[in-house]
Subunit: 358 residues, 2 copies
């Protein structure tokens, strides 16, 4: 059994107290115990999403809801903003659902350009835009406000936002920015095991879903809404993860949102300082860098897999050796979840120690 | 926080040792730690499914795979065998996917008639049959062998079997019976928290999926297969539940399959004896009764909700007050999972004690 600490960008380390909460006695999902649980976590989730809309609980990874969003909301053509492994794949997934879909692409490592987006949308071809806020593969945080402002100009275009690796790390203001669907997963900054996706849907988007055919059942937004009205879920939910979520939300609000955002900023800065000290480059340009993870360009051409093997063996921890087509030419270090100045310091010392062996 | 013991037919009680296993340190899902975990549980799952086909892991409830099966495998018309809440709903779900679908119905409480099935299939209209082995809502176990034999006569018709509440309670021989998809969930007899579905797909069914359009991504059988070849999953899986599954499978094979089936038979008989002693009737006819739960007809017209409230308050346990249109006119008692003669005896004493207060 592994006991390697994870500094890859998800799944991240899960604290003992979270596992403890997840071990609460099982309950039925059609009774008051479940209603009480959902009712307790719901207002806290709304605050994190920056919305007054319902927050739904999906027993799936975030990909389930990424697929659901295009399936529920597009009857015309999807514009997938593509600038990394996950956003690129969203185009493929849209097409696999039988939908018309096209990409607005930027190079991996570059952000999506709001001006280019405006040009595309002005053709009138599209009814849905998908955007990955924080491209976990490249460490690029897209300019959300500028992009949301562009989409807001087009009344018939909905915006779906993946916040998988930015949620609870930086503020998300779904209502203020007029974002129609915001979705995230449990295994990143919430520091829960994987298996739970959370999402919110605007009134406009729910209305649109009503006229979209073949939505199916498991990921039908209208089913989520119908059950949400009773504080329940369409299918049997991942109850233990919801107990874990309740616990993590209590920790988040005990810490305070501002303090939490500042902590992530500070831990991220520690990693950035390490990058500079060791004369590595960032893969993402200044001003568009994630606060939850750092994607480092391997400009010193080190043997990344060998390095990770050494840190695993000597210090029982790992970072990530890059994703997809930039595997090896980049590496990624996460500062998400329950990490502290002490643990990030220990991790940086461990990776430095094994780097110097190179 | 609830600590009520659950004798409703799922989610069922989860043992402390299972929660302990679920608390194993988090691992990444794209490395050797995950491959080792999947590789360890896979042969044991094949044995329980009675198959040499791959067993796939879906981060969803069983409904996800029930929907996936019709979406991946029907291009002509689905025949949904309907004789309870869950099998009836499968027809609705098929239609919501935009598929042609029709029901072969039996009264709630009655089994599906293989002769009627044969008549339907002889029309040549159908390419897929769905069957719920053990209707959790009515306590009816359908005559699987007879039904599978009928479907086997038709080369172009695939059979999908839901074993949600029969899996690991009675033997399932997927290969011997020629069943194309067998699926189950984690929160019934496996005594894990909900959030994980397990399923197996025959070569014929995988081949059929290749020509089925708009399968999407999250539940695409071919994606499951492609990732299975590396002992991985298409999306981030519910890792903690898989550690729990590994633990439960070890317990199952330590007990021995025959001993496990016998234990469930014995515990089920204890409930049946209680039904007879207290002069209740069974909702399901003799010969078609589930071994995992008992659906009892409320022929004595007792106030079931009040009774359940009393057992909850006095003995901190509950049974279930009936499902869907037979709520109140039936009640259900589960003997699934990690229960023993002692715990079933205690439960029966507690429900008797509070019944007598009626």
């Amino acid at each position: 059994m592994s006991s390697i600490k994870l500094y890859n960008p998800g799944p991240v380390n899960v604290s003992t107290d979270t596992y403890q909460a997840m071990s609460s006695a099982m309950i039925g999902h059609r009774g008051s115990d479940f209603v009480n649980l959902y009712s307790d976590i719901h207002p806290k989730l709304q605050k994190l999403f920056g919305t007054n809309s319902p927050v739904y609980l999906s027993t799936s990874s975030a990909w389930g809801i990424m697929e659901a969003a295009v399936r529920n909301l597009s009857t015309k053509k999807v514009l997938n903003c593509c600038n990394g492994a996950f956003s690129d794949k969203w185009l493929d997934v849209s097409q696999r659902c039988g939908l018309e879909a096209e990409s607005l692409s930027a190079e991996w490592g570059s952000p999506i350009d709001p001006v280019e987006l405006d040009k595309k949308l002005s053709t009138g071809e599209f009814d849905l835009v998908t955007l990955v806020h924080n491209e976990t593969s490249t460490g690029v945080m897209n300019p959300l406000k500028e992009i949301a402002n562009v989409v807001s100009k087009y009344d018939d275009v909905l915006l779906v936002l993946d916040t998988v690796s930015s949620f609870s790390v930086v503020p998300i203001d779904a209502d203020e920015l007029g974002i129609d669907v915001v979705l995230t997963g449990s295994q990143k900054a919430l520091a829960l095991p994987p298996g739970l996706a959370l999402f919110t849907v605007s009134d406009n988007a729910l209305e649109k879903a009503k006229s979209t055919p073949n939505r199916g059942y498991y990921f039908d937004f209208l089913e989520f809404h119908k059950n949400w009205e009773k504080m329940m879920t369409p299918s049997t939910p991942c109850i233990s993860l919801l107990y874990g979520l309740q616990h993590q939300l209590n920790k988040i609000f005990d810490e305070g949102l501002d303090a939490r955002f500042e902590r992530h900023e500070k831990l991220n800065q520690m990693v950035h300082d390490w990058v500079q000290l060791h004369e590595f480059n960032h893969f993402a340009p200044e001003g568009f860098r994630s606060k939850s993870l750092t994607c480092v360009a391997n400009n010193k051409n080190i043997d990344v897999p060998a390095w990770i093997k050494r840190m695993r063996e000597k210090h029982s921890l790992i970072i990530n050796g890059g994703y997809g087509k930039i595997k090896g030419s980049t590496f990624r270090i996460s500062n998400m979840g329950d990490e502290s100045v002490e643990t990030i310091q220990q991790m940086l010392e461990a990776i430095t120690d094994t780097l110097e062996d190179s």
